[in-house]
């Protein structure tokens, strides 16, 4: 064990070593030095573990302010529909509900059995469009066609420069008077895209045979653009995050339509929810 107090006499590269900032060649050279330098050994002994922890820190990011309202709203909507939802199952070798007890239970939402293709623990699937330009994201077969529509009918405004406009809200209701309802907000982000949060209730789960698609529609349907597609779980409720290059200012209406392989990528499916946009 190196004597205490010698770390302050260590070579500066000892700090680089414990923080993982040395290049490969420099690290190899320092390793040779370390074997014969008690000061650097003291520094590594004193700071090595903390250096490892620091290298794996979560980012110093702040959640968006509106996330609280969205979280609480989706929670209250779920609670209104299903007041006694608790379900518990054992997990082998997993985490316990408390730090002091690593052998107990872990809670998953109902329905307990996840879809075979997704294993998503009962959560709704979200298929997101990539941000424009160049944001990574999954583009599904349905999304690819819809993205082509976006490119064909729109001149994308303000790429990379952010939006001068504020957020939009769409209150969605069933045109046929069904119980289904929803709410969507679209807010501009720093990259020039729009972050859409869509919450729906009382929609039918079609499994994998059909899906829902969120459309922007201008008056007279002169312009349409898809914001993304989604599936709902058996509860019929869910909150979905989507990203779109489409500026809601250019469209008056949001529609949620049932899409199937027969009308994939086209504005043809039955409208289950519709609502006018309101600038916030």
């Amino acid at each position: 064990m190196p004597p205490k107090g010698q770390a302050d006499l260590a070579h500066p590269q000892a700090a680089d070593w414990v923080m993982g900032t040395l290049g490969l060649d420099e690290a190899a050279g320092f390793q040779l030095h370390l074997s014969g330098c008690p000061h650097c050994q003291a520094a590594v002994a004193e700071f090595g573990q903390l250096g490892q922890m620091l290298q794996h820190l979560p980012p110093a990011a702040e959640p968006p302010p509106e996330l609280e309202a969205r979280t609480i709203a989706s929670l209250l909507a779920a609670a209104a529909k299903d007041p006694t939802p608790t379900q518990v199952h054992q997990i082998p070798g997993g985490l316990a509900p408390a730090a002091q007890d690593r052998t107990a239970t872990e809670i998953h939402p109902v329905p307990e059995a996840p879809p075979a293709d997704e294993q998503s623990g009962g959560m709704a699937k979200v298929i997101r469009f990539p941000r424009w330009p160049g944001r990574a994201g999954l583009l599904t077969a349905a999304g690819a066609v819809a993205a082509a529509i976006i490119a064909a009918v729109l001149i994308l405004p303000g790429l990379g420069g952010g939006h001068p406009n504020g957020s939009w809200a769409f209150t969605l209701a069933s045109p046929s008077g069904q119980a289904a309802s929803g709410m969507a907000t679209a807010r501009p982000d720093a990259s020039g895209s729009w972050d859409i949060t869509l919450t729906v209730q009382h929609l039918e789960n079609f499994g994998d045979s059909k899906w829902y698609e969120c459309w922007y529609v201008s008056p007279g349907q002169r312009k349409v653009a898809s914001a993304g597609t989604f599936l709902v779980p058996d509860s019929g409720s869910g909150t979905f995050s989507m990203t779109s290059a489409v500026d809601p200012d250019e469209f008056s209406t949001m529609q949620i339509r049932i899409q199937s392989p027969d009308n994939n990528g086209a504005l043809q499916g039955t409208v289950v929810l519709s609502g006018q946009g309101k600038k916030l």
Binding site: P64, S74, S120
Partner: protein, 190 residues
């Protein structure tokens, strides 16, 4: 009031909030818990999911699961915070399993960041993050350049116009301050 007393009092308050949620009083108790944990949950989600939208989804899903499991919470087994981060880790793992969560452009080569093995690692790293945010500006500046820009001591010295020995001293003294802050919370890092 000692730190231990304050934490015990906070833990009791939070356990009461979960009890209220389990009894159907959802909105206000959930808002209080949300405000206490939103930042750390979001940071954890961003860390392990690498995407703001997915992190937001994880936060929402975590509180949904907290509501669903509130009746099963046992304060004798641990804190509400630990319980919530167990849930969050599970939610993050489920989100990562979805094909739709993976970035399109790097589908073949994409690797998720490592998911912590246990909730202690999550809580320790979040406490360390908070401690880092409270460091003096001189110490924090040097550590920020190391952690966010991967600069070496020599590069920091050049960037800030300081002697390299000064940079090293600030690095080590900053780390000592962090270790002290962790020690106050019962976390001991060599």
């Amino acid at each position: 009031m000692s730190l231990d007393d304050a934490e015990a009092r906070l833990a009791a308050q939070e356990a009461q909030l979960v009890d209220q949620i389990a009894n159907g009083n959802i909105e206000e108790p959930m808002k209080q818990l949300y405000r206490r944990y939103e930042k750390n949950l979001y940071r954890f989600g961003l860390h392990v999911l690498g995407d703001e939208g997915l992190a937001e989804e994880m936060v929402q899903e975590s509180f949904q699961r907290l509501w669903r499991s509130a009746g099963r919470y046992d304060a004798g087994r641990g804190s509400v915070g630990a319980f919530l981060f167990v849930i969050a880790r599970s939610a993050a793992a489920d989100i990562r399993k979805r094909p739709s969560s993976r970035p399109m452009l790097q589908a073949e080569d994409f690797q998720w960041p490592p998911l912590p093995d246990n909730v202690d690692q999550i809580l320790d790293s979040l406490i360390l993050r908070e401690a880092l945010d409270k460091l003096s500006s001189a110490h924090a500046e040097v550590l920020r350049l190391i952690l966010e820009e991967s600069l070496t001591q020599a590069e920091i010295a050049e960037r800030l116009g300081l002697a390299i020995g000064t940079v090293k001293s600030r690095t080590f003294n900053g780390m000592r301050a962090l270790r002290s802050a962790l020690g106050e919370r019962g976390i001991h890092a060599a």
